[in-house]
Amino acid sequence: MRRRELLLAAAGLTLAAPAAAHAAAPSEGGVLVDLMTREQRAKLAYAAAIKKGGPAIFAGIRANESDHADALTTELAAIGLGRPLPPRLDATSQQLADRADAESAIKLEDELVDAYVQSLPHLQDAKIAMTVATILASHAQHRLLLGLAAS
C-alpha cells in the first residue's frame, strides 16, 4: 500500500468513527441544546400564559424555567457551545400560551420530564449529568403541583 493510500485510509476511518457514534447516540452538546431549546420554549409559553391570566403557580414555575436556562447556558459554555437563539413555540408550548390553563402546562411538563429522563444516558460529564438531574426533579415537581392545582 502506498503512503497516499495509507494516509487516506487513516483519515477516512478517523472521520468515520465520530459519524458512526453520532448515528448511534446523540452527542452531549446536541442533547444540551435540545434541552435548552425546550426550556426556552417553556419560558416563553409560561410568560404568554401569565399575561393571559393563567394560574398563580405559573409565575413560580416560569422563574424556575429561567433558572434552568441559565444553568444550561453555563453547561453549554463549559463544552464550548453558545446559547441557541430563542426558538419558535412548538404545538405543546403554543397550546399553553393560547389556553393558559393547568392542563396544557401539565402536558408540557410531562414532555419535559420524558426528555430529561431520556437525556441522562447520553451525558458523559458527571457535573452536567447531575445538573440535568436536578432540573428533571424540578419538572417532576412542577407536574405534580400543577396536577394538585388543577384538581
Binding site: R3, A11, T131, T134, L136, S138, A140, Q141
Partner: protein, 134 residues
C-alpha cells in the same frame, strides 16, 4: 507545515486510541445502588408512602441494605436526602441502565418531596434545582 509522516502518525494514533479497551470504572455499581437503597429505606422508616415502591425497584436491580429500625428524620427530610443521593449517584454511574433507573427514582422522590411540602403548607417551589448538593 504538517508533514505526511506527522499526519500519518496522527491518524494511526487516533485509530489505536479508538480500538483500546474501555476505561475501567472505579465506582462499583452495586456499592452505589446499595447506598441508594439505604437512603430509600430511611425514607420508608420516616413514613414516606412512595418510598417502598422505590426500594423494591432498587432491590430488583440487585441492591441490598439492612433496613433501619427507626429514624429521627421527618418523611420530608428523608425524601430530600434520598433525592440528593439519587442525583449524586447519577454523577457516579454512567451506564444507560443505571442512569435510567436513577432518573426514574429522581422523578418519584422529587414528586414525593413536593407533595409532602404541599401537605405541610410549605412552598414546594423554593428551589429550581431540587436534590442539588448543599
Amino acid at each position: 507545515v504538517v508533514t505526511r509522516r506527522a499526519l500519518l502518525g496522527a491518524g494511526a494514533g487516533a485509530l489505536l486510541a479508538g480500538c483500546g479497551p474501555p476505561k475501567a470504572t472505579a465506582t462499583s455499581r452495586r456499592e452505589v445502588l446499595d447506598e441508594q437503597l439505604r437512603l430509600t429505606q430511611v425514607a420508608v422508616a420516616a413514613g414516606s408512602t412512595r418510598a417502598p415502591a422505590r426500594a423494591k425497584k432498587l432491590e430488583a436491580a440487585g441492591a441490598t441494605a439492612s433496613a433501619p429500625a427507626a429514624t429521627s428524620l421527618t418523611a420530608y427530610e428523608a425524601e430530600r436526602d434520598a433525592l440528593a443521593g439519587y442525583v449524586k449517584a447519577i454523577g457516579r454511574l454512567r451506564d444507560a441502565d443505571s442512569r435510567t433507573l436513577l432518573g426514574e427514582l429522581v422523578v418519584d422522590a422529587a414528586e414525593s418531596e413536593a407533595q409532602l411540602a404541599h401537605d405541610a403548607g410549605q412552598d414546594p417551589l423554593t428551589s429550581a434545582f431540587p436534590g442539588q448538593a448543599a
